[in-house]
């Protein structure tokens, strides 16, 4: 039976991609953000996931306003990252897992989510940068199932609906008969606003509220309407919806493994968190005991 180990939650600012391409990770501006990643990679090294369910939002690479799905599930064997308008070199994107994609699609529709399925799908920086951060300098050694949430064109799905979507994905993973080690990623945020006279807005207090409640009480994050989240977090801070959905897939009880919060990266309050499931924690402890015995 497949094992769900937990999730990595991270900001996905395009400028991070630029910093990676320039090799700027140790510059004073960037170091506080990139310093969040060694503990994440250590955890990944212990848990060795081979599938990533990626909750993210597209920023106008795959989806345009001609057709804007609220929830879109990738069902392709291959995905691509391409030029998003700035001429940056595309990041490598690992292969898909169409069988698991369809199992998730079947479950979501059975659970009465009216989703869009995508057998041909570009994934933008919101998916490619988190993978490049988790597994630098190579294609991530995983298969992916991208789940894109509309955070661009209002009306957006409510936080409550996103959490429910994630929980339904979690049910699909629990029923999946494969033997994969599965993790989720939730990308975007935290507070930031690119547009309007309030551009540059951030709200550490709200970000802290989100990070403090994500593991033990994610329902707390659903008490705000989308409009209230925009007010608290900024027009693009509403990407917290991706984190909420990803959290939903992890079940009731998770443990916080690591957390980093830094202001600013570009116009954004940047955060990185790892949450692990009970199953992963038990396995990690067993592994640690085994190592202790060997020593």
């Amino acid at each position: 039976m497949a094992k769900v180990i937990g999730g990595v939650f991270t900001s996905h600012v395009p400028a991070i991609g630029g910093a990676i391409h320039r090799g700027a990770q140790n510059e004073p501006y960037w170091k506080p953000f990139f310093d969040a990643w060694p503990p994440v990679r250590e955890w990944l090294g212990e848990q060795v996931p081979d599938v990533v369910i990626m909750f993210y939002n597209d920023h106008g690479l795959n989806f345009f306003l001609d057709k804007m799905p609220t929830f879109a599930i990738g069902a392709a064997a291959q995905y691509r990252n391409e030029d998003e308008g700035w001429g940056l070199p595309p990041f490598p994107v690992p292969p898909g897992h169409p069988e698991l994609s369809w199992a998730i699609i079947e479950k979501l529709v059975a659970e009465e989510f009216d989703i869009t399925t995508c057998q041909d799908m570009l994934v933008d920086h919101a998916a490619s940068i988190p993978l490049a951060l988790a597994w630098p300098d190579r294609e991530a050694p995983v298969k992916i199932v991208p789940i894109a949430i509309n955070t661009v064109q209002h009306p957006l799905p409510s936080a409550k609906r996103c959490l429910a979507l994630g929980r339904a994905v979690g049910k699909a993973l629990a029923e999946w008969q494969g033997d994969e080690t599965i993790m989720v990623m939730g990308t975007g945020g935290l507070s930031h606003q690119l547009d309007g006279e309030r551009a540059g807005f951030m709200n550490p207090e709200y970000d802290l509220f989100c990070m403090d409640n994500l593991s033990a009480d994610p329902d707390a994050l659903t008490r705000h309407s989308v409009h209230e989240i925009v007010e608290l977090s900024g027009t693009q801070g509403v990407e917290i919806l991706n984190w909420i959905a990803a959290r939903g897939a992890l079940g009731d009880k998770v443990h916080e493994v690591s957390r980093s919060y830094h202001i600013p990266i570009s116009n954004t309050a940047a955060a990185v968190m790892v949450l692990e499931t009970e199953a992963a924690r038990a396995a990690g402890n067993a592994g640690a005991e085994k190592t202790a015995e060997l020593a």
Binding site: A15, P32, D35, H59, G60, L61, F64, L65, D66, E82, D83, E84, G85, W86, G87, V152, Q153, H154, P155, Q193, L194, D195, G196, E197, R198, A199, G200, F201, M202, N203, P204, E205, L208, S225, H227, V230, E231, T235, Q236, R259, S260, Y261, H262, I263, P264, S266, N267, A269
Partner: protein, 123 residues
């Protein structure tokens, strides 16, 4: 919108999506380098090809981001247009807030002062 307006904040809703369709479609096309080059070669012809409204064409000609948004532009698409002119989101933020780029960047840095001290312990 039934909800109270948020100062300095423009919700990209159905009305904006309808109004801004041509402008956003043009910006979406800038994902391809050949289209960015075509825009730079003949801006008028390129804008005409996408049927920009007079308001949109004027906003683009003036490189005025707030005017583009008033004409239905969405920031994610406008960021692709801004990139053609070598402008990043700090440049765009500075223009919208009427600040110099340096002052805008300083404001972003100053946001760190609002991090609650409890959180500082986490690094």
């Amino acid at each position: 919108m039934a909800s109270t307006a948020i100062p300095g904040t423009h919700i990209f809703d159905g009305a904006a999506a309808r109004k801004g369709y041509a402008l956003n479609a043009m910006c979406f096309s800038f994902n391809e380098a050949a289209n960015r080059d075509a825009f730079l070669r003949d801006e008028d012809a390129y804008c005409a090809r996408f049927g920009l409204t007079a308001e949109q064409r004027d906003a683009v000609a003036k490189r005025n981001v707030l005017a583009m948004m008033a004409a239905g532009g969405n920031i994610y698409y406008l960021a692709k247009l801004a990139g053609i002119f070598g402008l990043n989101v700090q440049d765009v933020g500075a223009q919208q807030t009427g600040m110099t780029v340096d002052a805008f960047k300083q404001m972003l840095l100053d946001n760190a002062a609002a991090i609650p001290t409890k959180e500082m312990a986490h690094g």
